[in-house]
């Protein structure tokens, strides 16, 4: 187990600057996700940490030890791949044994550790199977077991769930998170799926174009994004334009918005007189009992899409502004109905 630190790591492929001064600290036992669109440099960051790419500049420190130029096999990492990358010519047992043999661990201990880990991933009895004789989910768990059995100090996962079907993916999210917590291992998880990052991580690192846009807890990233781009990437968004009328020291602001006056929350950098754009998440909107909600508006229902456990509703408010709301599935209205919606000031976030 250890702390991992990236100091101004840069990487280029030819003329393309893929990583532009990445700074990141991952605490011992922490689960950190790298989240970003395709091509933003997530895999490259992970490969630099693993030692398969060497940064042009900057340092990578494991527990304070500079391993920037060290070969991957000397780094004490465990890695899980999107393709699983199990050894097709070896059985499950032999796949797990590989890393232990590389570490010259004697046979009885190898056996014991493999049995332990297979228990953890619930694959006892599969020792003699070949990877091709396993389902995708089982292969994924073998890959996880193979990375964990060597008891690495850092676990690196590159979109490990991308090849699984939706239902299995949901299960595996919790499975991996739970396993990471039980083992207490430092984990870095690459994904471009925001909901995956949100449910699994202690902290999320949002990356765009080789740069870190924001680092924070899932809640911070979701509710208090630093830019419109982060807001849009992390979830469905409504943006409300307005002018700050007044501001209290605790960040509560009064806004003259296009849809009318609203109560909102702003970062310290925002002051009265600023023109701002605010984020209002569809899921923070309410109908029915609106007691205690600072912002209440009449709205007209435009259309409703049933999503199973909720409904996605397009509304027009404040004189023709379309806005999206995610409401409980018991929301009974039809297009054309007039309803009242409300949302709290805490849920209207003025983007800095």
């Amino acid at each position: 187990m250890s702390e991992l630190r990236l100091n101004a790591v840069r990487k280029r492929f030819g003329n393309l600057e893929v990583l532009k001064a990445i700074d990141l600290t991952v605490a011992n036992g922490e689960f950190v996700s790298l989240l970003g669109p395709s091509g933003c440099g997530k895999t490259t960051t992970l490969r630099c940490i693993a030692g398969f790419e060497f940064p042009a500049d900057g340092q990578i420190l494991f527990d304070g030890v500079d391993l920037t130029q060290t070969a991957p096999e000397k780094r004490d990492i465990g890695m899980v791949f999107q393709s699983y990358a199990l050894f097709p010519h070896l059985t499950v047992q032999e796949n797990l044994s590989f890393g232990l043999e590389m570490r010259n661990i004697p046979e009885p201990e190898r056996k014991r550790r493999i049995a332990d880990v297979l228990g953890m991933v619930q694959l006892v009895g599969f020792e003699e199977r070949f990877p091709r004789e396993l389902s995708g989910g089982q292969q994924q768990r073998v890959a996880l077991a193979r990375a964990l059995v060597i008891e690495p100090s850092v676990l690196l996962l590159d979109e490990p769930l991308a090849n699984l079907d939706a239902a299995l993916r949901d299960d595996m999210r919790f499975f991996i998170r739970d396993l990471q917590q039980r083992v207490g291992i430092t984990a870095i998880y690459v994904t471009h799926d925001q909901s995956e990052a949100i449910v699994m991580s202690d902290r999320i690192v949002v990356m765009f174009d080789g740069e870190i846009a924001q680092v924070g807890s899932p809640k911070e990233i979701h509710d208090r994004p630093i830019s419109k781009r982060v807001a849009e990437f992390v979830g469905k968004s409504n943006f409300l334009k307005g002018k700050v009328e007044s501001r209290r020291t605790d960040g509560a602001v009064m806004l003259a918005a296009e849809i009318g006056p609203i109560h909102a929350t702003a970062p310290a950098t925002t002051s009265a007189g600023d023109t701002v754009e605010c984020l209002l998440r569809p899921e923070s909107m309410r109908t029915g009992a609106l007691d205690g909600l600072e912002n209440q508006f009449p709205a007209r229902v435009e259309d409703i899409i049933f999503l199973g456990n909720s409904v996605s509703v397009h509304l027009t408010i404040g004189g023709g502004h379309r806005i999206l709301a995610l409401l409980p599935a018991d929301f009974l209205a039809v297009p054309g109905d007039e309803v009242h919606i409300g949302f709290s000031a805490a849920n209207v976030w003025c983007l800095p």
């Binding site: 398969f52 990358a85 010519h89």
Partner: protein, 287 residues
Amino acid sequence: MSGAAPDARRAFLLVVPALALLVAFFVLPYFSIIIMSFREPATQGVHGGGFTLANYVSAVGDTFILRKLGETMLLGVGVTVITLLLGYPVAYHLARMRSRWNGLLYTFILAPLLVGLVVRTFGWMIILSNGGVANQALSWLGIIDDPLRLMNNYVGVTIALAHVLLPFLILPLLANIQAINPEVETAARSLGASRWRAFWRVTLPLSMPGIQAGAILVFVLSISAYVTPAMLGGGSGRTMSVLVVQYLVENFRWPAGAALAIILAVAAIVTVALFFALTHRVTRKLP
């Protein structure tokens, strides 16, 4: 239920042309050679009236023939090993590297096949003869005083065969390595294997089917080659194939020549089977 039989029949119809070709051009000639090898020799006509084992008995009892057989097998193994050592890195490179030089490399690999056999062999004669390019270059560099004997022995034959057979090793191997997920090597290294150990424990066993296919092609083609050993081998570099042709064409000893051909074929099959047995352990577990 009723669909199975017509489907199977239709599928069978598809293989009929190939089967006919195989029988007409492969099985029948072999069959006639086998029969020929058991005929009695004759001076008036191709063979005598009866059947006999004498052709085999005298061939197996002839130390010259046995030595030639051994040398031919060794030549085959030698050419296979050389092409494997030269070809594996090339196949691996082509399979794994995204380089703009790949197209050029492909051309170089296939080039020997684009030039006619006789012309190519003449080229090697120019290079390998006593006063040839290779010896001139070596003596100019001061590496040798007297010319090396590169022709009229197995050295020249080995070099020329390795040159022309290299693509037969590289192409199946290339297809094989391309089909291996490159991430398994990455995974091996993340588990603590050095580059070399990752290759030895993961990539090499996974590429064994390609090695087998390429090696068998090269081996079979080199022991059955005729033009190259006939032109470059001279007297001491004569292979079994050259000997067989000599028997058939020059000496007109068809039954004895046929027996030599069959002995060569059996030796080749035994060698290939041995090779399979040796590599089987590795490939057994492959999908």
